[in-house]
Symmetry: C2
Subunit: 209 residues, 2 copies
């Protein structure tokens, strides 16, 4: 609701950066102690704000969670889906999607990604927005595999299971990836892309590439 947001906040002093700061802090607290176990006062305290000050930005905890998820989904749109749609070759598109998805999902220790199971706590109309966007991403992966198949380059496999398994591999990343670990995120994502390509594409095609 950008219009009502603009009406409620002064145009000066970068109101969006304050909202973003609140969302960042809230995401981390939700992730650490669980959405249901977090009170608005916990978030206010972490930000050295009053509860009333926090309610000025967000009418409810659910609205905050929804904005965090929407933020994550917007990143998916801007950094994964939109650039992918610009890549013509479906195999190159697939690799780019894997790399980009891995990069954004591990950002900020993956707190946004790890909140997605809390969507259960959202009201139905908000949950629907999240689910629709997730389905949109799934379809893009599956359609990309279908295009690779159309070019005779896909192994004999079930498109939906392949797409869901690939998404699962990437979604699992924030559970184990450590920013200060042995590998950079690009190295880890590259390994996953190699695994996925070996799993999905016909060997002869991979040799040609």
């Amino acid at each position: 609701m950008p219009s009502s947001r603009a009406a409620r906040l002064p145009a000066v002093a970068e109101p969006d950066s304050r909202r973003a700061e609140i969302c960042r802090a809230a995401a981390r607290i939700f992730c650490d102690q669980g959405f249901d176990a977090t009170a608005m006062s916990d978030i206010a305290r972490a930000l050295r704000m009053t509860k009333a000050g926090l309610y000025h930005y967000f009418p409810s905890k659910e609205a905050m969670l929804f904005e965090i998820m929407t933020f994550g989904l917007d990143r998916m749109d801007e950094e994964v889906i939109a650039p992918a749609l610009a890549v013509r070759d479906p195999a190159a598109r697939l690799r780019q999607m894997i790399m980009q998805h891995a990069r954004i999902i591990t950002r900020a220790e993956g707190v946004v990604a790890q909140l997605f199971h809390e969507q259960r706590a959202l009201p139905a109309h908000m949950r629907k927005v999240v689910n629709n966007q997730e389905r949109r991403y799934f379809r893009l992966v599956r359609d990309t595999l279908k295009e690779i198949r159309g070019a005779g380059r896909l192994r004999n496999l079930d498109l939906s299971i392949a797409a869901l398994s690939l998404i699962g591999m990437i979604q699992w990343l924030p559970r184990w990836f450590r920013q200060d670990g042995r590998l950079t995120i690009d190295q880890a994502a590259d390994e996953i892309a190699n695994l996925a390509f070996a799993a999905l594409l016909k060997p002869v095609d991979r040799k040609k590439r």
Copy 2:
């Protein structure tokens, strides 16, 4: 704590089946509405018990969650890890682990598996038990891949990332698999095993098999 459990419950009337029934109901409720948002009274009501009756079996909600997780980990032990250790050929062992893991993780709509992110709510000593068991499973998968490598049959890949990605693919299953869907769990697991084998094993070896 089997000894204290035996002391608290009469030996007649199958106390374990009642405990199991409570755990089943609790797992479903935790999964539907979240662990933190569930009260002991919600579980008692669903089971048509008094709260006092429920406390007779479990001293706390955390103890119940821990027993549910322990139940899931025991199934992993009995149905995945123990049978795997009996399979000598590492590639055959890997396929069997994938199949068995997929089968148990989707049982009862995967409610037990989907509760694992709630381990954050457990006291540290309980969380440690869960984490140790998870690590044990990860090591078994990684060591199996190492054995396949030792036999010259593994692609050039990072053992840890390959193991974690494979586990991620399977752990993602309960998020999308529908018991009444297009495929049986054995068909879905078989597809995942095929994807994993193509991703992990050298092509020449797969042709020989």
